[in-house]
Symmetry: C2
Subunit: 225 residues, 2 copies
């Protein structure tokens, strides 16, 4: 296998990316804007849950959303329609992730003055986005019940780099062989510190706890409660 060659290329890419990410993070911190990078598989329910979450937060916080997609603008449109907050669709030209340089340029175009919180909804992929620090203050992910409780073991880097792991679509748990205790154990093998919140955007389960977590993170950066 040509593994060594690939890893060497990756190391250079990652080093440059880490520098860009640190620069962006410092810049956002100085502006008191908290950025949260949201990752998951395709179809985990992140657009729907984010829309509901933003509606819970928007009376207290100024929120913006940047949606990453290969080609369509469906997600940015959905969030804008559901919440009325400012959203930007980033087309990443077929790539499997978004890196810090792309995020930095998107942030420049988006303009964050006056915002307390910006979500980046990353491309649906459990592998590549985990490798690229976007410059966000926090990384969060959705694991949806239909995907199965074994996914942490299969996509270990993603579950390792996240500060918050949301178990979504909990209203469907009776339909699938999903064991929340087993999922939690699998996550803990990789990540001792991450907060784990089971939610259902449909029934509202866990949404208050999620909003509370996000508000605490925003307070850390912006000083706003």
């Amino acid at each position: 296998m040509s593994e060594v060659k690939v890893i060497e290329i990756h190391e250079n890419v990652f080093k440059a990316n880490d520098e860009a990410a640190d620069r962006l993070r410092k810049n956002l911190t100085s502006k008191k804007v908290c950025m949260i990078n949201v990752m998951s598989s395709p179809g985990s329910g992140k657009t729907t849950a984010l829309s509901k979450l933003i509606n819970m937060l928007k009376t207290e916080l100024n929120v913006g959303v940047m949606d990453v997609d290969i080609k369509t603008s469906m997600d940015a449109q959905k969030v804008a329609d559901a919440t009325g907050v400012r959203s930007l669709q980033i087309h990443n030209g077929g790539l499997c992730h978004i890196d810090a340089e792309m995020t930095e340029k998107a942030i420049e175009q988006f303009g964050v003055d006056g915002l307390d919180l910006v979500f980046i909804e990353n491309i649906g992929n459990l592998v590549c986005p985990a490798e690229f620090d976007t410059g966000a203050h926090k990384n969060i992910m959705f694991l949806s019940v239909p995907e199965g409780d074994d996914k942490p073991l299969k996509y270990p880097l993603m579950f390792s780099v996240c500060d918050l792991i949301i178990i979504s679509k909990m209203d469907t748990k009776d339909f699938f062989d999903f064991d929340l205790e087993k999922a939690t154990k699998n996550i803990r093998k990789l990540n001792k510190k991450a907060t784990i919140i089971p939610i259902s955007a449909k029934t509202g389960e866990g949404m208050e706890e999620l909003a509370k977590w996000v508000k605490a993170e925003v307070k850390e950066i912006s000083g706003r409660a």
Copy 2:
């Protein structure tokens, strides 16, 4: 965005990969072994459905399975336990796809003499695996009902390169806002030729049709019915 630079690098990678893929495909054809590359999101149900399918095929065909995973051997073990056919787990060292050179080396190690059909169960990812021809004769994918009927528009390359698109977990369709007609329309915008088969590994829906499709492809290569 540094898009142009990325595309240039990709072009060289893809050219070398296409050559390796053609070489592997010719080699397999000369041995009368049909290889089918199976792709999907994480948690689409491909391991479970493949196991059931192999149990339907194994009385008539000699089948082998190569499972690609970042780190675990769970999938190869599951298929081996459920079917008794020979399986190999490929650990791809954290990469987001498998390319033709990696597949070629895996095939050498696996040994395909006497086999009529080899499945490669690719890594769960709707972006990167679509970019790399593995050398397989046919590309097939699973789109599971919980992921949503809009996914073809969001991951267009994957839906364009597949010869067969399996809509899986059809038994859960009443639980989700999944419109099969809409999914089919979305697929047809990208891919006029692909066969579309809705299945449920749980209820058995569509499994006979799927087995028939696979047997016809094997016959093309191996001459065996």
